[in-house]
Symmetry: C2
Subunit: 452 residues, 2 copies
């Protein structure tokens, strides 16, 4: 890519327009954003104006919103109209949502009245709904046409449709009654009725359906596109697989961020300013910091115990760390399982039973290894107390492992039951809760077993 | 779904085969695995045998390997052959990889010699390579045919191809020279040469390419399929988008698991036994537990300090927790940014500079809030020392935030440079490292400022 950038800069410098033309032809639309990052504004505009109409729109849809804004600012009204006409509806809506008011005004001025109505409808669907990610450019067949009629329709209108791989069949009141895979059409005789090869009652979603559910359906059913209907079952749009993949990746990123105690952010790392980063992170840090003072208070309560046996304090990091790690392992598996529908809420007792047994195995190994370490490390120093100390720490580890794995397994499921996102019940929160309990267990065991 | 299951069980009970037939027609292949989970083996076999040949193969490919094995065990050789013939090559290979040797032997016996050769080749590609996930059933055009010729080929062979949305053009030595989107064919005149509408030199991958990179290309370029070539540029297969999505989700799951200190596991939560769960989790728990003893050793070194001011011990959980959370926020953002190619290795100084500034903002707020809390909570008890104590804790929090955010930001990038998976440099490991440093900072500050 770097070589290409250099070559392009040279060609612009030397005004070798023809060579530049040929070179640009070989570059995929999706590669232009990273190319543009290396060029200055003037160079970007020169290159953009060399692209053929259709590719220009494709490239435009791929660009970051700040580059889009810069381009629109230098566009003539005619240029702007050409781009908007070529863009698919869902990309136009995305553009309008990202641009400042003055730019939006210019865009809307250059859109025909009918498209403007569609766009306004699309803009009105709630964020993260199927309606907000669908496009209105799909291939529609009336009931009663033949395969050949279908091909004729595709030939006439296909260029302006986002996908031609699926067509949808509607009745006279625009209700969705079937879907046709282009594969079926291609292997059928041309005089067969579409209704004979269509899939009746295809799977569909309502405009109000959550986009995450829509993305899951693509994953499960291997669709290329999914029809979207209104409450009266009238076909209003389709979601295509490229948008479903974007939703999938965004939802994964959101889970990663929530699980690391952050407020999710739609922008990329570098596009987010320092203060926005700080704002997204500080809330949970404060909540967790204040919660952890309870663990501090528990420790304070046992001041006499560690005044008598100061070595006890040295085990605090190990117990806290192990408890946190045990808990975050379980919560991560359960959160991910819930997200992928591999675990259902009704499985809660199966999860508890599984985590309990895993905790017993894991906790016992940890306790055993630690007991040996304590014996060799402190054996000479704490002769009389060494067995008691090993028992206290070992027992604490086993109980902590059980507690952590149960809390880690159960809390995400409770969150889901309460219609909260299970991802908030991840490592940071689980650790803070488990810390408190494990330290309490530790000192209680110490007081009892070592007689402090 | 539950209602459907009940209805089906009733129909089997009452032997209403015709009704059952109609009902099964309306169920999507991807819904059969969850349906089968609710049925017993006998019922599964009855239903499976009622499915038409093509759908039966689709359903078979969706099933879990243990259900597949059960079915194969009751299949006659003829039934087995029918299924295998209908399965796409990549699904056959997946099946062979999952079955025990005796079943594999039976499968191979029922495959024609030519297919067996292809399967053996596919089985030989390294795990997680493009070759291991590709299929060999794609539409291939020779150079020099017309669009109409292309349609004839698709009509004749399309049913047995995994996708008809793209066709690939090869020269006489089977080298890949172009790709054709079916959309282009559908909107073109039938007597046009394919070479006029094909995309020359389409993006392709080698059989040895990492599947994660392949999945990223689908995300970036919005492909429906991607051609796979050998080192001599001969077309050997295609990867289809449904497989790319599976890879994407698997890689995300793997990252979640690694980031929670687990060895990644390809099976689902419930399919994994207790001992496998324990084995996947124990290694990192042991490593981190033993590492945390260093933090313990540091605390032990400052025994005199907390003997003099016991309240210091009560701040340990807060400092450790906050450091861990600060670090895991940064590492999560950087790991995710690297995975999505939003952050490159060359951005390391930009990351450091950004994290440093975020840490200053966040650390200052945390320090300020804590200082106020200390004043109100301990003001009366530790009158003379209260200002010193606030300064020690506040300063520790700021330094810990800076340290944690830098460590969290830098370590994943170092891992990537060393060709390790950045995901291992996540919360658990970062926390353990940051714990050690933050506790050291805390006691050093305490000793200096409070003169212990």
């Amino acid at each position: 890519m770097e070589e290409i950038t250099k070559k392009i800069q040279e060609l612009i410098e030397e005004k070798k327009i023809n060579e530049l033309h040929t070179m640009l032809e070989g570059i995929n639309s999706a590669d232009f954003p990273s190319l543009f990052e290396e060029l200055n504004e003037e160079q970007i505009i020169i290159i953009y104006r060399l692209l053929p109409k259709e590719k220009a729109a494709e490239v435009f849809a791929e660009l970051d919103s700040d580059v889009q804004r810069k381009l629109i600012n230098v566009f003539t009204d005619k240029e702007l109209k050409t781009v908007i006409d070529e863009l698919f509806m869902d990309d136009t809506v995305d553009l309008i949502e990202e641009m400042p008011a003055s730019v939006v005004k210019r865009i809307l001025k250059n859109i025909g009245a009918r498209d403007r109505k569609v766009i306004n409808e699309l803009l009105n669907y709630p964020e993260d709904s199927a309606g907000s990610i669908m496009t209105t450019e799909f291939i529609e067949f009336k009931k009663g046409i033949t395969v050949q009629d279908g091909f004729d329709i595709i030939k006439k209108t296909g260029l302006k449709k986002e996908t031609v791989y699926y067509a949808y069949v509607v009745d006279s009141s625009r209700k969705l009654i079937g879907s046709v895979d282009i594969k079926e059409m291609l292997i059928s005789e041309r005089d067969i009725q579409i209704s004979e090869i269509m899939e009746e009652n295809p799977i569909r979603v309502l405009t109000s359906e959550d986009q995450e559910e829509v993305a899951k359906m693509f994953d499960k059913y291997n669709f290329m596109a999914l029809p979207v209907v209104d409450t009266e079952n009238r076909l209003v749009g389709i979601v295509t697989i490229d948008d479903a993949i974007d939703v999938m990746q965004d939802e994964n990123t959101e889970d990663f961020e929530k699980m690391a105690a952050m407020i999710p952010n739609e922008e990329t790392y570098f596009k987010t300013g320092v203060f926005t980063h700080a704002r997204n992170r500080i809330l949970w840090l404060l909540v967790l910091m204040i919660s952890s003072t309870f663990t501090g208070a528990i420790i304070q309560k046992y001041e006499n115990a560690f005044a008598a046996v100061p070595i006890l304090v040295a085990f605090i990091p190990m117990i806290m760390g192990t408890g946190g790690n045990c808990g975050s392992q379980s919560s991560t598996l359960v959160i991910r399982g819930l997200a992928l529908d591999e675990i259902k809420i009704s499985d809660i007792f199966k999860v508890i039973w599984k985590e309990f047994r895993v905790a017993i195995v894991v906790g016992t190994i940890l306790a055993f290894v630690t007991a040996i370490r304590i014996y060799f490390q402190y054996g000479s120093e704490y002769q009389g107390e060494i067995v008691h100390l090993s028992i206290v720490v070992g027992l604490t580890l086993i109980l902590t492992a059980i507690l952590a794995k149960l809390v880690g397994g159960i809390l995400p499921m409770i969150a889901k039951t309460l219609k909260l996102d299970p991802a908030i019940m991840a490592a940071p929160l689980i650790s803070t809760i488990v810390d408190m309990c494990s330290i309490l267990i530790f000192f209680k065991c110490a007081v009892m077993i070592m007689g402090l």
